[in-house]
């Protein structure tokens, strides 16, 4: 594995290796000294064209716990904001000797383009409406942690699938790991060729909830109603929002996930978001471990990360 651009590039064993590595690394987070020397001398650049403190911080923490040097290259206020092209930025990073580039960009495929221009490993931290592989990995990690399995797990992904990089990455990864995914959304918010995806599709959330072990709620932007994807935010919530009544339809052990940031009241009600069966904060914690695993496996540290005490 040279880059992590799409979960489609991960085979079953590779994906499991990342999850297992993340579990080992998670133990470090529980020690008093949280650092490993594994990536000492390596440089990881966080290249963020979109504001996402959550994801950037998670990657930063992951890299630092592995002792890598971290450079935050935010688009705002830099040469990027002054119109420097992605290619020129790539050449700059190349000259700086970046071993790994973590990129978040508003354009689908930006990580792919970057991978063609730099020698270092590229980690896609979200590209447009394409993919967000580490989010899917941390989601899978959280599901396995909470339910003890992935094979045969019934996962409903609810919301704006069409514009969701989280949904794309999750569908591919969960399928690879043997889970059964059902997408739930109004027909306007699923891609036209969704029938070719390795998952089921339903327009009826109430019908899917009792049959799901995991319900993942996607963020829905209220502005989508201006493009006629749905009539009003209120109607969207009524049909596809996870409120207390719907929560009651779920199985007793079923969990609720959300990649954040949440729109409380739109796709998820406050009492559901705060329920002990919601994994939102756990997902954040697991994000650091999973990103450590990805950086470790990609950048191939000089010292073993696992099993060191």
């Amino acid at each position: 594995m040279r880059h992590l651009l799409s979960t489609a590039d991960l085979g079953h064993d590779e994906a499991v290796l990342i999850l297992d590595t993340a579990r080992e690394l998670a133990q470090i987070g529980e020690r008093s000294v949280k650092k490993l020397p594994t990536l000492r001398g390596r440089t990881v650049v966080n290249l963020f064209y979109e504001d996402s403190t959550r994801t950037r911080t998670s990657f930063e923490l992951a890299a630092k716990r592995l002792s890598a040097d971290v450079i935050n290259f935010s688009a705002k206020g830099s040469s990027v904001a002054k119109g420097e092209s992605l290619k020129d930025t790539a050449l700059t990073l190349q000259a700086m000797g970046a071993d790994g580039v973590v990129v978040r960009h508003g354009a689908s495929g930006a990580a792919h383009r970057l991978a063609g221009w730099v020698d270092g490993s590229v980690v896609n931290a979200g590209d447009g409406t394409h993919e967000h592989p580490t989010q899917a990995l941390l989601d899978a990690y959280t599901m396995r942690e909470r339910t003890g399995r992935l094979a045969g797990l019934r996962v409903a992904i609810v919301g704006d699938v069409l514009h969701s990089r989280v949904a794309r990455s999750n569908v591919l990864l969960l399928h690879t790991l043997g889970a059964e995914v059902t997408l739930v959304a109004p027909p306007t918010l699923v891609p036209v060729s969704v029938g070719t995806w390795p998952c089921q599709v339903s327009y009826d959330l109430d019908e899917v909830l009792p049959k799901s072990d995991v319900v993942m709620m996607l963020r829905v932007q209220a502005e989508r109603m201006n493009e006629a994807f749905f009539p009003t935010a209120r109607e969207y919530s009524r049909r596809y929002g996870l409120d207390r009544d719907r929560f009651a339809l779920m199985g007793e052990d079923a969990i609720v996930m959300h990649p954040g940031p949440m729109v409380r009241g739109m796709e998820i009600s406050a009492e559901v978001a705060d329920s002990p069966r919601a994994t939102v904060t756990r997902q954040v914690a697991n994000g650091v471990s999973v990103r450590m695993a990805v950086l470790y496996l990609l950048l191939g540290g000089s010292e073993p990360a696992i099993g060191q005490r």
């Binding site: 354009a107 689908s108 930006a110 383009r113 394409h130 891609p191």
Partner: protein, 439 residues
Amino acid sequence: MSDENESGGTEYLIRGARPLGGEPADILVRAGEIAAVGPRAAAEAGAPARTVQADGMIALPGLVDLHTHLREPGREDAETVASGCRSAAMGGFTAVHAMANTDPVADTAGVVEQVWRLGRDSGHCDVRPVGAVTRGLAGERLAELGAMADSVARVRVFSDDGMCVSDPLLMRRALEYVKAFDGVVAQHAQDPRLTQGAQMNEGEVSDRLGLAGWPAVAEEAVIARDCLLAEHVGSRLHVCHVSTKGSVEIIRWAKQRGCDVTAEVTPHHLLLTDDLVEGYDPIYKVNPPLRTAADVHALREGLADGTIDCVATDHAPHPIEAKETEWANAAMGMLGLETALSVVQHTMVDTGLLDWAAVADRMSAAPARIGRLTGHGRPLAAGEPANIALYDASAERVVDPAAMESKSTNSPYRGMRLPGRVTGTFLRGVPTVLDGKIQ
């Protein structure tokens, strides 16, 4: 290149070429015309006639392109009329239409005359400016179509290409109005609402790549509407760069009804498919977008059975920085002039769908007829203007955009092995290309 007087005096005896792929026959070129074809050619050649050895080459009437973007005025960094004309000559073309989406837009007699003069001065290819249908391509008010028709540029093809004349009433009026001077409206069929933010063909690949989809229906619905409008008002309609199976079916249906519609297909839509977008390389970003294999198949069939009348390149040069970027920010368009004949050979001739006589029709006679060009698209016969392309169909080449005459290098065929090579082009008896080299 030699000046007109001198060359007008030079005779050329083209030996051994196969007119329209038939039996070898010598061709004598004199004073801008074809003086003789066959056994009499050598006999009639004067002593100073220069011999062009063309054994086994296919001789075609000089190719005619209904659709190029020569970028001048405004984007001379990407192409000029002069460089575009050299590029055209290298592709075997003797006449090209230059689209109106320049800066300023070719929506007045002044701009079309400027482009026409630049073409005349280049000497490598005749340039027929296309006039904008609406002022500034804004789709709101008609441009002065009559003034452009009456200018020295004698505009007959009108198009807002790059933009669709989407207002049905405006389209109706334009179709009607140009009848006064036997003009034709060439429609870039793209419903703007259905393609807001669209990045590539809508389907499995766009859904997987997370790129906003460009549905086939956005093209097909406009074509269907325009065919019905043209039929209603008894006008000629030309459809630019047909790219979908459904479009071919609609045009076939319209022709059967008696609608006076013609259509073009680009070489790239005859060969390339949307799965090439997988790597997000914007060299494959084009408008209309690359479609699916089923569409490519239907386009080839449509061109073979005459539903699609001609091949037009939609040659669209862009500077490197317009393509070396993330997909969504990249410009749309590809080079086409210097690879068109090779792609047509590869997709249509080598597959048995067209013979060379039919290629001459689709790439010369038909586009000349649609554009109302006199002196182009004529038979290779004594007394006709000596506009000739010589083509070595047995050659093979690896496409190298850096070696092209175009100022830009955005060819989607870079590194691809393609058959055939243009070895000679004559524009009214003057060689613009000889031995495969620009003159």
